[in-house]
């Protein structure tokens, strides 16, 4: 048991150790990400520059690389949070923002904005609204039966397909150059982005923080069936809508800022769950792992084919594919 004043929380060592290790790894990954590139900056100089000692590398480290690394960490954390919440409500380890249509809704709005000649500053707000609009449709279709897991996922898949078809229509009728820009947005990239995008995502997470503290607790009962949950005095439908709504907000905001970076929201919660050995994904560890994954993915995207820059979404997809195969093999192995 852990007591902080009136707060009493069941205390287990494993999640705390995992969280600390992930945090250390995240810090290391950020330092490495700030260090690699042209010019190369020694990690020692990175740390000195960050601590404000004043080095010749301040411009490269603090102004050019740091904003993007911080954005990667913040966006990865938001993906981890969104994935955890959505997977818990969907009761499906393969659910993620793109399975329930949020990504496609954001993508359609962003594609329209990018190909219609709208001002660049309008792309992110349009994507945010598009993602939320898709979520509203999914909720409306799924909520009639208490947002039950299967109905929620089916509604999401249907909406995702419909929006994807609309994206194709817009792309095919658009100017090829605009279409290419939209294509890169859809894959998801952190290139040319930084503080302002990171601030939007971090701000959203900060506003959602009280809800997330509640969610970390409410997720505990998300593995119970509705009858059992009602029996112990819970209102499962209200909980699901609250949890899914929070996840959708986080997903729509981060997708609007960095594009449809695949797989982080899918992989982070499940790997974190296995690391912690819990029966459901742990929120904090999933956020830290998401941050770590996206920082590494963006580092790879910057450096693997340098000077050509890959969209980070290509790298996360490259990690996510083998991960899915791994999950499938593990599932079959356990049942046989």
């Amino acid at each position: 048991m852990l007591r902080l004043g009136a707060v009493v929380v069941p205390f287990r060592w494993r999640p705390v150790v995992v969280a600390l290790v992930l945090f250390v790894l995240l810090c290391l990954a950020v330092v490495i990400s700030l260090s690699l590139g042209t010019p190369y900056v020694a990690p020692v100089d990175v740390v000195r520059s960050l601590s404000g000692a004043g080095t010749p590398y301040d411009l490269v480290v603090r102004d050019l690389r740091l904003p993007r690394a911080v954005l990667a960490a913040v966006a990865g954390a938001a993906f981890g949070v969104a994935g955890t919440l959505i997977q818990s409500v969907a009761r499906n380890p393969l659910a993620s923002p793109d399975v329930i249509g949020v990504t496609q809704g954001a993508g359609l709005a962003a594609t329209i904005a990018l190909t219609s000649g709208a001002a660049a500053v309008l792309v992110a707000p349009a994507a945010l609204l598009g993602g939320l609009a898709a979520a509203v449709v999914v909720f409306a279709l799924g909520a009639r039966h208490g947002l039950a897991a299967q109905r929620f996922v089916l509604a999401g898949v249907a909406v995702a397909f419909a929006f994807r078809a609309l994206i194709e229509v817009v792309m095919l009728t658009a100017d090829p150059i605009d279409g290419l820009r939209a294509q890169i947005w859809l894959i998801g990239t952190l290139a040319g982005k930084g503080w302002s995008e990171a601030a939007w995502i971090a701000g959203t997470l900060a506003v959602l923080l009280p809800v997330l503290l509640w969610a970390g607790w409410a997720l505990r009962s998300s593995t119970l069936d509705d009858d059992t949950a009602r029996g112990i005095g819970l209102r499962p439908v209200a909980r699901r809508i609250g949890l899914a709504g929070t996840g959708v907000l986080a997903a729509a905001m981060v997708t609007a800022q960095v594009g449809a970076v695949d797989f982080v929201a899918l992989v982070a919660p499940q790997v974190a769950r296995r690391l912690v050995r819990a029966e459901r994904p742990p929120l904090l560890c999933a956020a830290l792992l998401g941050a770590l994954l996206l920082v590494l993915a963006d580092l790879g995207a910057r450096r693997l084919l340098a000077p050509t820059q890959l969209p980070a979404g290509v790298l996360t997809a490259a990690i996510g594919g083998p991960y899915l195969i791994f999950v499938l093999l593990r599932t079959r192995g356990r049942r046989s």
């Binding site: 009493v8 505990r220 009962s221 069936d225 005095g233 029966e279």
Partner: protein, 300 residues
């Protein structure tokens, strides 16, 4: 006999079909009540409505005289425990963890555990005899152990009343008896009000202090098993011809189905079967020894 749970003019239905139509019922406190009836007679619907898992179209369920719908669900959960028919076991959850979920109505996100929670969980696991399994994963347990774990979870809720929907279905006979003995002890030693839907009439007759027989959404008879359980009632409720004799072990009424045409040709005792079919008199049956002391018998 005071009623802990009552229904008043209860109307419950599913899309287009009315299952219970204006049901008035009082369930006595401090009693093991068993509800029996043929499939689709509305017994599970009644139990689930009393447990607030279903919302009635009309009428009310009263808990200690107050309409359950008007009470905060958390408060109800401190007074009324529910075990649904086939609850879903969260993957990989341990016994102690699952039993601990029963403390939910006493917890808040800023106060997730208390010493009282610990005591209640320990006590519940001891009562249900699952203490030795505390660290095992529930999905690796046998059906009987699993059912005791679920009952332990509802016990950790520390409620006056416990509603169970067919708690013995899917269990073998030994485990059925184990679960029923546990429910009997809860009533006898802890003064809990226990209400269960059961399929087996003889188990119902043996363990129930108050028996409710339902058919087509209505209560056909209610009372002590020895007073109401007759061959006429069984024919009326289940459409089954039978003989009712005193149970040689407990003395409770024992329902023995009469021989059917098929059965008679196989056994060749057509005559005996026919003559007793539908008979309410049990005197033709040899006298039986009374129940051994300590055997669980329905409350007199």
């Amino acid at each position: 006999m005071t009623a802990l749970l009552s229904t008043r003019d209860l109307v419950v239905g599913y899309e287009g079909r009315t299952v219970l139509d204006g049901l008035d019922l009082d369930l006595p406190a401090d009693t093991f009540t068993v509800i029996v009836g043929p499939n689709a007679c509305g017994k599970s619907t009644l139990l689930r409505t009393m447990a607030r898992l279903l919302t009635p179209r009309r009428g009310a369920v009263l808990l200690d005289g107050a309409a359950i719908r008007d009470l905060p669900t958390r408060d109800v959960a401190r007074r009324l425990g529910v075990l649904p028919q086939s609850p879903l076991v969260p993957e990989g959850i341990t016994v102690a963890d699952l039993v601990g979920r029963g403390r939910q109505p006493y917890q808040r996100w800023w106060r997730q555990w208390s010493a009282e929670d610990g005591r209640a969980v320990e006590e519940a696991m001891r009562l249900a005899d699952v203490g030795a399994l505390a660290d095992r994963a529930v999905d690796t347990l046998s059906g009987g152990q699993r059912q005791r774990v679920w009952i332990a979870m509802t016990l950790a809720q520390d409620t006056d009343a416990l509603l169970l929907d067919e708690p013995t279905t899917f269990l073998d006979l030994a485990h059925q008896v184990e679960v029923l003995d546990l429910l009997h002890r809860l009533r006898a030693e802890r003064g809990r009000t226990v209400v269960a839907v059961l399929h087996d009439l003889n188990q119902a007759a043996r363990y129930a202090g108050h028996l409710i027989a339902m058919r087509d959404g209505a209560v056909v008879a209610a009372g002590k098993p020895r007073e109401i359980l007759t061959a006429d009632l069984v024919r009326d409720v289940f459409g089954l011809d039978c003989v009712v004799v005193p149970c040689p072990v407990s003395g409770a009424p024992l329902v023995v189905p009469a021989l059917t045409q098929t059965g008679s040709t196989q056994t060749g005792s057509t005559q005996a079967g026919r003559t007793q079919t539908g008979s309410t008199q049990t005197s033709a049956v040899p006298a039986v020894t009374p129940a051994p002391a300590g055997a669980p018998v329905g409350d007199a």
